[in-house]
């Protein structure tokens, strides 16, 4: 099957899955609302002050939107980092990039940024800066030896992650805890409803990041040949790497700013997709966008219903899924070549 057909088939299927998950997510929750009432509220026929309207339009819909954006962004960031490092284990959380972004957000919150759109943009800028800082640190530590060795890269990611987590702990201890309301909940990854203007900003940043990676999908395939061979085929590898690096950091930063450091989405989703659609990044990037959205939306639906009326952090669910996949991929990499 040609890659174009594979892409269309996979994309159609995944969009159907996403739609189904979204419908379920809209219908379930700690507040019992009849399906008919939900439909009524979504169509704008219910009283604005009624329970069904507040729950569906005010809480569930924005949360669904945030989950779709965050899941898609994280999965695409994962594909980007994986192509860049030529390693299927590379992922924003594993590489410590999420921790760097979280540190940026905590600093921004200490500086008093939080509520208005402009302030949210500032938050995202700090998150992006933190992501770039962490990713650069990982890159420098890992490439100190010749080339990027898989184990070194993962260790560098862990070390940088621990460093920024500690830095966050220091900042949180120094600052009045009340000013950093809910920071612990957020640090585990939390898709609390995001106000509409901020949601639009989130969408814009995610779109920019996805575009930066998707437009170079063919070149990313060639990067798997090794940098020198890619260069000899006419790819401007240095500029390509920079664009992908910035795109993946932007996606990570945006997600962390709006939803917290949610781990392993960028690992699990591309890993499963590769089994189904193959390695071609031109197919992988768009399908990861949709599959990541469906995965995180599903995880969040579970997170907010499984112990209702209380709720789990969505990051807990994704980590429970991600850790076994991580171990599996790591072990299958060690298998000697036939």
């Amino acid at each position: 099957m040609s890659p174009v057909r594979r892409l269309l088939v996979a994309l159609t299927t995944l969009l159907a899955v996403l739609a189904a998950v979204a419908v379920v997510s809209l219908l379930v929750g700690s507040a019992a609302v009849e399906p008919a009432a939900v439909l009524w509220a979504v169509l704008g026929r219910a009283e604005p002050e009624s329970l069904e309207s507040v729950v569906t339009v005010g809480l569930r819909l924005p949360r669904i939107a945030a989950a779709i954006l965050a899941g898609g962004a994280l999965a695409v960031a994962g594909v980007g980092f994986q192509a860049l490092t030529r390693n299927p284990l590379a992922e924003p959380a594993v590489l410590g990039v999420s921790s760097g972004a979280a540190f940026g957000v905590v600093i921004a919150q200490v500086l008093g940024l939080s509520a208005t759109v402009l302030e949210t943009l500032g938050l995202a800028v700090f998150a992006f800066a933190g992501a770039v800082l962490a990713a650069t640190a990982v890159w420098i530590v890992a490439s100190a030896q010749r080339g990027l060795v898989i184990q070194t890269l993962l260790l560098a990611g862990v070390i940088v992650g621990i460093f920024f987590s500690s830095a966050i702990a220091v900042v949180v201890s120094l600052v009045d805890v009340n000013r950093l309301g809910g920071v612990i909940h957020w640090l585990l990854g939390n898709l609390a409803p995001v106000p509409r203007p901020s949601l639009a900003l989130f969408a814009a940043l995610a779109a920019l990041g996805v575009w930066l990676i998707a437009r170079d999908a063919r070149e990313l395939n060639l990067l798997a040949l090794g940098e020198e061979t890619a260069t000899q085929l006419g790819v401007a590898t240095e500029r390509l790497k920079l664009r992908i690096f910035l795109g993946a950091a932007l996606l990570t930063g945006a997600v962390v700013a709006f939803a917290g450091p949610i781990g392993f989405v960028g690992l699990v989703v591309p890993h499963v997709l590769r089994r189904i659609v193959g390695e071609d990044n031109r197919v992988l990037v768009p399908t990861a966008l949709v599959a990541g959205a469906a995965f995180l939306l599903g995880a969040d639906t579970i997170a907010r219903t499984v112990i209702a009326p209380a709720e789990l952090s969505v990051g807990v669910i994704t980590s429970f899924c991600g850790a076994p996949v991580f171990v599996y991929v790591l072990r299958s990499q060690r298998r000697p070549a036939p």
Binding site: S2, P3, V4, R86, N87, R215, A217, R218, E219, N221, L222, A224, L225, G226, E228, T229, T231, Q232, L233, G234, V235, A236, R274, G278, E279, D280, R282, Q333, A337, P338
Partner: protein
């Protein structure tokens, strides 16, 4: 009518800025040669003589400090990387360990320089890739992951990717190093057919002087970045020249089957005929 050489090195000098060890390793000094259409030129010489540097200068990955490299009479410096890739294809020694794509996908990657703005390959690209796989006997393996291939199949797949570029010059970096005898022969036949039938110029970098002697029209002997000799194998594979290049005594005999020179190092128990 004489056609322009596909590659032309004119007094090319290159030195890496960092000095490695005692000597400026991998540097070359004042090297001139050309590769003509349909010709197989072998580059031989000891380790770090500058063989791979020549390859990198040829594709614009490195730029000469002095002198000029021309491709089909156009200075390399005037060509963009995509334009170079449409004319010169390189077969690297190996691909990265975990290369995840299938044979078909690998071969199609060779079409990149013919439409770098496209996200997906054109019909023509697919047709060229199909024909190249047919020529190299890979059509049945198109859907198989590269990592699952045998050594010989891998080599053919990597060469097929280079051929999909439809180059005027094919540069091979130690193509037979990892191959056993049968695949060495297949690889040699493929290279020979390309040059004879399609008029592709071939630059063959090899440690294997005996293979080079049989396959190449001319040989270029490099040592410590200097050109020691350039000419037909019979001239270049001279015990004196090779002894100087490799720093050891060398015996050159003649193959009883092909009449080609056969080179080996002379060690203590070698009986050297003195004439």
């Amino acid at each position: 009518m004489t056609r322009a050489p596909v590659a032309d090195f004119r007094r090319v000098t290159f030195g890496y800025s960092r000095v490695e060890g005692r000597r400026r390793a991998f540097a070359i000094t004042d090297v001139s040669f050309d590769v003509r259409p349909g010709e197989i030129l072998g580059v031989i010489g000891p380790n770090s003589a500058g063989k791979t540097t020549i390859l990198r200068l040829l594709t614009g990955v490195l730029e000469p400090a002095a002198g000029e490299v021309r491709i089909e009479d156009v200075p390399l410096a005037r060509l963009g990387s995509v334009e170079i890739a449409r004319r010169v294809a390189v077969v690297p020694q190996t691909l990265p360990e975990a290369f995840p794509f299938t044979v078909g996908e690998l071969v199609l990657m060779g079409r990149y320089p013919h439409g770098p703005g496209r996200l997906f390959e054109s019909e023509e690209d697919r047709e060229v890739a199909r024909r190249v796989m047919e020529e190299t006997g890979l059509l049945e393996l198109a859907g198989v992951a590269f990592a699952r291939l045998s050594g010989g199949e891998r080599q053919r797949a990597v060469i097929a990717r280079a051929l999909a570029q439809r180059p005027r010059l094919l540069a091979l970096d130690e193509p037979t190093t990892h191959l056993d005898l049968r695949y060495q022969a297949q690889c040699a036949e493929l290279v020979q057919r390309l040059s004879r039938e399609d008029g592709v110029g071939v630059l063959l970098i090899s440690h294997d002087m005996n293979l080079a002697a049989e396959l190449c029209d001319r040989l270029l002997l490099l040592a410590e970045g200097q050109l020691l000799a350039l000419g037909p194998p019979e001239e270049v594979l001279d015990p004196g020249l090779l002894g100087t290049a490799f720093g050891c005594a060398v015996v050159v005999e003649r193959s009883r089957t092909t009449g080609c020179p056969v080179v080996r190092a002379a060690w203590s128990n070698t009986v050297v005929e003195r004439g």
